[in-house]
C-alpha cells in the first residue's frame, strides 16, 4: 500500500462531564476538555503499525471540525502520522456530509485504504464509514478487531454477536475499527515537539465542493433521567415481596 488515510474526529473527552444546555439545544462545550475520538485513535495506531511493518508508505490524517481540531491532528502527527488536513468548520456536520467530504479527500489523496473509527463517542452515529464505502463503491469491513495484509488483500476479523467473522477484501477498501483492535501508544514529548513541524493543511468545505447543509433536525437534547435511590431489604422474601409489588415478578 502507498497511502493510508485516517479520518479523525475531535470529541468531548470521555472523562469530561457534559452539561446539557437549559434550552435543550445541545451540550455546552465551552471550556470542556476535547480529545481525539478513542476509535479514531485506534485507527491511527493501526495505520501506524501497518506502516511500521513496511506495509504502507505513508499515513495521512484528516479531520473535519473547528480550528481547535488542529490539536487532535497534531496528536495524530505526534503518534507518527506523516501529514494532516483540517477541513475547518464550526458547525456540526452530519455523517453523510462528512462521508462526502471524505470522498473528495480520497479523490485528492488516492489512498489504498481508509481506516477510521467505527463511530464517534459524542453522537454515536456509526454511519460515516459505511456511507463512505457506498459513495466510493469500495468494499468495507466494519468493527475490525484484527487487520492483516497478505498477498495484496486485507484480512479483517470482525466481532459480531455470534463470534468472529473473517473477511478478505481487495484494495482499495474502507475499514472501521473496534475497541479491541489495539492499544494506542503514548505520545512521547520529543515526538510532540517534532509533530509541530509536520505539514498541516487547512481547507474549507467549499474547497471540496460539498453541500454540508443539514438534513436532520435535532428536536431536543436532554440528560438521562436521574436514577431513583435504592432501598435496603433485610431478607430474600422481603425482596421477592417488593419485586411482586412492583410487578416485576
Amino acid at each position: 500500500m502507498k497511502t493510508i488515510l485516517v479520518p479523525v474526529k475531535m470529541v468531548l473527552d470521555s472523562n469530561a462531564r457534559p452539561r446539557v444546555r437549559t434550552d435543550e439545544s445541545g451540550i455546552d462545550l465551552s471550556g470542556m476538555r476535547m480529545s481525539i475520538n478513542p476509535f479514531c485513535e485506534i485507527a491511527v495506531e493501526e495505520a501506524l503499525r501497518l506502516k511500521e511493518a513496511g506495509l504502507a508508505e505513508e499515513v495521512v490524517v484528516v479531520s473535519i471540525g473547528p480550528a481547535k481540531a488542529q490539536e487532535t491532528l497534531r496528536q495524530a502527527l505526534a503518534m507518527g502520522a506523516d501529514r494532516a488536513t483540517l477541513i475547518e468548520i464550526d458547525e456540526t456536520v452530519e455523517p453523510l456530509a462528512v462521508a462526502k467530504l471524505l470522498r473528495a479527500v480520497v479523490g485528492e489523496e488516492q489512498p489504498d485504504l481508509v481506516l477510521l473509527g467505527k463511530q464517534a463517542i459524542d453522537d454515536d452515529c456509526n454511519q460515516t464509514g459505511q456511507m463512505l464505502a457506498a459513495l466510493l463503491g469500495w468494499p468495507q469491513a466494519t468493527f475490525a478487531s484484527a487487520v492483516r495484509f497478505e498477498d495484496g488483500r486485507l484480512l479483517v476479523t470482525r466481532e459480531i454477536d455470534a463470534g468472529l467473522q473473517r473477511l478478505s477484501l481487495p484494495l482499495p477498501a474502507v475499514v472501521t475499527t473496534d475497541l479491541r483492535l489495539n492499544e494506542p501508544r503514548h505520545c512521547a514529548l520529543p515526538n510532540i515537539m517534532k509533530a509541530r513541524k509536520k505539514p498541516l493543511k487547512i481547507g474549507a468545505p467549499a474547497d471540496y465542493g460539498v453541500d454540508i447543509g443539514r438534513r436532520l433536525k435535532i428536536l431536543a437534547v436532554r440528560p438521562p433521567a436521574g436514577r431513583k435511590s435504592g432501598i435496603r431489604v433485610a431478607t430474600a422474601s422481603e425482596l421477592v415481596g417488593d419485586l411482586r409489588a412492583a410487578g416485576i415478578v
Partner: protein, 539 residues
Amino acid sequence: MTCDVVIVGAGPAGLAAAIRLRQRAPELQVIVVEKGAETGAHVLSGVVMDPVGLDALLPGWRDEEDRPLRQEVVEDRFAFLTRERAFSVPEMLFPARLGNRGCFVGSLGEVTRYLAGRAEGLGVEIYTGFAATEILYDETGRVVGIATGDMGIGKDGQPTASFTPGMELRARYTLFAEGARGSLSKQVIARNGLDRDSGFQKYGIGIKEVWEVAPGKCHPGLIRHTVGWPLDRHTGGGSFVYHGADHLVTVGFVVHLDYANPTLSPFDEFQRFKTHPSMRDLLAGGRRVAYGARALTEGGWQAVPRVAFPGGALIGCAAGFMNVARIKGSHNAILSGMQAADAIVAEPDLAEPRSYEAGWRMSAIGRDLYPVRNVKPLWSRFGLAGLALGGLDMWAHALAGGGSVLGTLRHRKADHASLRPRAEVTPIAYPNPDGVLTFDRLSSVYLSGVNHEENQPCHLRLADPLLPIRENLPRFGEPARLYCPAGVYEVAVAADGAASFVINAQNCVHCKTCDIKDPAQNITWTPPEGGGGPSYANM
C-alpha cells in the same frame, strides 16, 4: 533537550511569565510543561479577579473579542452567619483594600486558556499532559531544568507495553509555577533552605461547586462572602458565592488547615453550609454542574520564602502570594510571573533572578500583601474575634498611613501540627447528604471528571505504610478520611476487626491537602502519570 526557560505549570503565574519573556525577548525559547491533559484542566479558583495583573501583562485585553473576564462585580456583600440568620456587614465598613469594586466575576480556567492562547501566539511552547517529576541540578547545586515522568509504568513499578520514557528539559532558568504546595517547589524550597527566614507557610482548602440556579435567582455580578456558621469560633474559613452569567453561580467554602478538631471534615462543612436558609433559597430548583477542590496558601507576606535560587525562581502560589484577607491570588500570580520574567531578561547572566527577589516586596505585590499581614495570625490565634481585630488593624493601617501597632505577627506553627487528639475534642457529627442540596464525596468527585490511568504506581506515597493505622487512627481517628475532599483515603475494617489504610489514588483531584495536613507528614503527594487528574472545564 535544552531551552532558555522551562516553566512548570501552565496556570496564571507560569503563563504570565512565559508571555512576558517572549514579549521582552522574542528570541528566547520558552517551554511550559503542564500535568493536566489540557491547559486549565487543573485550574480551580473562586474567582473574583482583580484585573491589575491582566492590565499590566496584556494592556488592551478589555477591548478584545475573546476577553476572558466580562462581568464586573456590581454588588459586594459580607455577612456573619449563625445557624438561622445572616448578619450583613455594610460595605462602607470594609477596610478599603477589601472591597471588590472593579474586580471581575469569572472563571480562572477561562483566564488560563486565554493566556495560553496568547502565549502560543507569541511562540511559547506549551506541552500539556506532561508532569515534571524531577528537578535536575548541576554539580554546584544550581537548578538546570526538570525531567518529565515516565509513562506506562505498571502498578508493580515495571514498564508496561505502552512504556514511554520521560524526558529531560534543560534550561538556563527554571520557574516553578505549580500552585500551592507544589511537589517540586517543596523540594527546591527544602534543598535551598528558602524558608529559613520566613517560617511556616499556612494553607487552606477551598472546595467549590458550580450551580445552575433556577431562573430569576442569578444576579450577575453579585458576590457574597460569609464567616461564622457552620464553622465554630476557633476554626478559620468562610464561604464565597459569586453570581456569573448563564444562571451559573459559584458556591464555595474555604477551611483553614490549621483547624484543631480531627473529626472536622471541610467537605461536610461545605455541604452543611449549603443548608443555611440563605443558601437553600438560592439553590432550590437548581442543579449542581461542577465540583472541585484545591489547597491555597494563606501565610501571606511573612510566609513567602526566598523566591529566587540559583537557576530559577518560585512564582505565583508556589511562592505563596495569595492575599488571604481579599481571598485573591491570581492577580499576584500574574504579577510575580512578570517580575520573574523581567529579572531573567534584565540580568540574563546572573546565578539567580535577583532583582525579582529584591523587588517584589516593594512592588504592587508587596503593597497588596503587607497591610493584611496580621489578619491570618490574628485569625489563627483568636478565631473570629481575631478576624475582627485584623480588620481593625487594617483600618489602623489605612488611617495611620502604613503602620501597625502589632508590627508583623509570625505564624506560630505548621498546619499539620495543629490537630488535637480525638479524645480531647467533641466529635462533629455531620448530617447525611440529601442528594439534592448536599452530596457525598463520590458523586462529587464524579463531577470533577477525574481520571487516572489505573495501572500505575500509587502517586500518594507513604513514608511509613503502617503509620496511619498504628498512630493516626488511635490518636486522631485518621483525619485523612475527612480532610480529603475526594474520598481518596479510607480505613477498611476486615471481618476480624483488623483495620487497613486504603488509598483510592484514582479519585485524587490534586488538591495537595494530604501533603499539608497529615499530622505525621507521612504522605507525600507526587505527580501521577501525565494527563491524569481532574478535567475542570471552567473552574
